[in-house]
Amino acid sequence: MTVFVCVCFHFSISDNIKLLIDRPDGTYCFRLHRDRVYYVSEELMKKAGNVARENLLSFGTCFGKFTKTKKFRLHVTALDYLAPYAKYKVWLKPSAEQQFLYGHHVMKSGLGRITEATAKYQGVIVYSMSDMPLGFGVAAKSTQECRHADTMTIVVFHQADIGEYIRNEEALT
């Protein structure tokens, strides 16, 4: 739980964390299963309790996992829930979309738009210009710095992108 709060702070959605737990369609909770954190409705969780631990592969939505060194690593699968609540966003030009989906950082040249007053090292959600969430990362420069940056400087560090669904299928599960 605390981990998730950290995640929320990371994306500055702490105001919205209540929305994730208390939802109009029933209570949701976070569950740890095989070092992975799942966000799941209580009802579904109870039903999943029927399945033996070693046979249960996934339930609800996987948010991320704990590494062997006990650090929490957010997975791209959490994007669906993070995107609507995140405050800071970055939009990519169509030419830079593909670059990002192959796991590269975002250059200034590929930057379409960025939320005002994004601080440096702030977690951001990366969108395409057609408002499709593509992944998330960390702002390498604040909005102010971005304005004056060179075209080849990195403005967003890559953390996760939806290209991982094919690149990295094994690690997601």
């Binding site: 039903k47 046979n55 249960l56 593509l134 939806i162 094994e170 599960t173």
Partner: protein, 572 residues
């Protein structure tokens, strides 16, 4: 298979020999006429410059050309000169015309002779001795046609002393060689398609069109189509589905567009929409997808449930089940529990589902265009082993289902096989051993299932099941049946079966086998992907106190054990 490509392009109909016969008549005539013109010009020139000379003069270029094209012209000219009395009166051009006429006659005569010999060959079709090496595909093709021609009116056209089965055997062998099937499968197909076999086989050689399914949780079909068209994809909606799109051509790989990665669509054969449409999942239900990898149907079910209720996706193979996890997350499905059990033990884990989808692992005979290996690799034992596993799975699926469910109580059984044993045979088993009945699938196209097939006689309601064929519907070969579970146990297990069991095994052998081997604990090797060796043995059918002899209809266990594991193919 590759070598068949060019053959397909040759126009069907008269065939190679026919063309050969026609050619000498038509084409050379034209050629000659052209040459005549050239020569005429040359000769006229000569006439102006010198006195007319006899044709045999060696220096003129026209005669050289002549010799080029007609090697035997010199001889012919000499003979013409000798027996023609008024040779010197004729102009050279006339002489040439005469020669040509003669040549033409000769050609015609030869052509006629060849025609006669060919006719003679077709009139009595001699079956080969079986000693031939290196078969010629064109000859085989011709022979297939010939044998079919004979079989169409067997009495009148047969060769003396040859029976119908001789012809059928020959036809089967030839078809096997030509389309590279094994004899067992070809025999089965010949039984299934007495009349339209060839169209079916040809349809198997061509790939089905690529289709995608819109994820209605994330986007609408129109928006998706627009987005893809902007990326240079040429597509069209599928008429009978609200979410299907068929892709004709594309400039980008459809499995790697940002839309695909964002979960806006799924690459999925059009045939795999059908079982989900038949299942007709409702919101807030509890649904089980028993053999769900790689998750195409699962995500479709979840989309129809609008992410409500509870969906269990199971697959026996944990590695394949990983693909479900990935797809489910990509498509934004949140109501799914993914687990990896042998489907046969699932009723012990959980039951009381409103609807169950069983897309059973099968021999894959409906998807030969996708996986041509099936042509050669399947034999009797594989089919029997598939059917056995399917019978166990459908029993488990029915046991998982809740008959008293307010909205459901339905089980949909589907395979991508077209074998009767794996389809109607399995449904028949379910009808005999469980308290279920067939209900309409809700699909308004497709052929109805077989009520009678060869010596098999099934329940009349079997016509409610649906079959789909590559050559008729341009879908993968597919079978869909929808069952409704009725409350209560089925009492009085059928004592004797009226129909003769397949493979000519007498009915008594079945039940005696059941008695001899005990109830259900002699499943051969635990089946396909049995991760836990014990699971096959400890299996008992919950909810069925009675002994079910039909569980033992299939292959004797030692035989099945000898065959390698993992030969069964789960459709992708």
């Amino acid at each position: 298979m590759g070598r068949k490509r060019p053959l397909d392009k040759t126009p069907s109909g008269p065939g190679r020999k026919h063309k050969k016969q026609e050619d000498p008549g038509a084409a050379p005539e034209q050629k000659k006429r052209k040459r005549l013109k050239v020569k005429a010009g040359a000769v006229l020139e000569k006439k102006k410059s010198k006195k007319p000379l006899p044709v045999e003069e060696p220096d003129s270029d026209s005669s050289e050309e002549l010799a080029d094209e007609f090697p035997e012209e010199g001889v012919a000219a000499v003979s013409a000169g000798s027996d023609d009395s008024d040779q010197d009166i004729l102009l050279p051009i006339e002489k040439k015309a005469k020669k040509q006429k003669k040549q033409q006659d000769e050609d015609d005569r030869l052509a006629e002779e060849e025609l006669q010999t060919n006719l003679a060959a077709t009139e009595t079709i001699v079956l080969p001795s079986g000693q031939e090496l290196a078969p010629d595909l064109t000859i085989i093709r011709q022979r297939i046609r010939d044998v079919q021609f004979v079989l169409a009116d067997f009495k009148a056209r047969r060769q003396e002393g040859k029976s119908r089965s001789d012809y059928l055997n020959q036809l089967r062998q030839d078809l096997c060689t030509y389309y590279s099937y094994n004899e067992f499968l070809m025999g089965k197909l010949m039984d299934l398609f007495p009349t339209e076999l060839e169209t079916f086989l040809n349809a198997n050689e061509e790939p089905r069109p690529m289709t995608i399914r819109t994820n209605s949780l994330k986007t609408r079909r129109r928006d998706l189509a627009q987005a893809l068209i902007n990326r240079g994809v040429n597509l069209d909606p599928i008429k009978w589905s609200k979410v299907g799109l068929v892709i004709y051509s594309t400039e980008v790989p459809p499995g790697a567009t940002p839309e695909y990665l964002a979960g806006h669509y799924m690459l999925q054969g059009a045939s795999s929409f059908l079982p989900v449409m038949a299942l007709a999942p409702q919101e807030n239900e509890r649904i089980l997808d028993m053999c769900s990898a790689p998750g195409g149907k699962t995500t479709y079910i979840a989309a129809l449930m609008k992410n409500t209720g509870c969906l269990f996706a199971n697959d026996a193979n944990p590695d394949r089940a990983k693909a479900i996890v990935s797809n489910v997350h990509r498509m934004g499905v949140h109501n799914t529990v993914i687990c990896s059990y042998d489907g046969r033990v699932f009723p012990k884990i959980m039951h009381g589902f409103d609807r169950v989808l069983l897309d059973a692992p099968c021999s894959g005979t409906g998807v030969i265009s996708k996986d041509p290996e099936v042509k050669m690799s399947k034999d009797e034992k594989d089919i029997q082993r598939c059917a056995h596993l399917q019978k166990e799975l459908i029993a488990a699926a029915i046991d998982c289902c809740d008959a008293k469910s307010k909205t459901g109580g339905y089980i949909v059984y589907s395979t991508c096989s077209i074998m009767v044993e794996e389809n109607e045979g399995v449904i028949d088993y379910a009808l005999r051993t469980r308290n279920v009945r067939l209900v309409p699938t809700g699909l308004d196209f497709g052929q109805s299932g077989f009520v009678n097939f060869q010596q098999q006689r099934y329940h009349p309601s079997m016509k409610l099941t649906k079959r789909f064929y590559p050559h008729q519907h341009n879908l993968d070969g597919f079978f869909v049946a929808k069952l409704q579970k009725l409350p209560g146990e089925k009492h009085a297990p059928p004592k004797e079966k009226t129909q003769t069991p397949e493979n000519g095994k007498p009915a008594s052998a079945k039940s005696s086998a059941a008695k001899g081997k005990g109830k259900t604990n002699s499943q051969p090797g635990g089946g396909k992907t049995n991760s836990k060796p014990g699971s096959g043995k400890t299996k008992s059918k919950p909810g069925s106190g009675k002994t079910t002899p039909a569980g033992q209809t299939q292959a004797k266990s030692p035989k099945a054990k000898a065959t390698p594991k993992g030969i069964l193919k789960k459709k992708k």
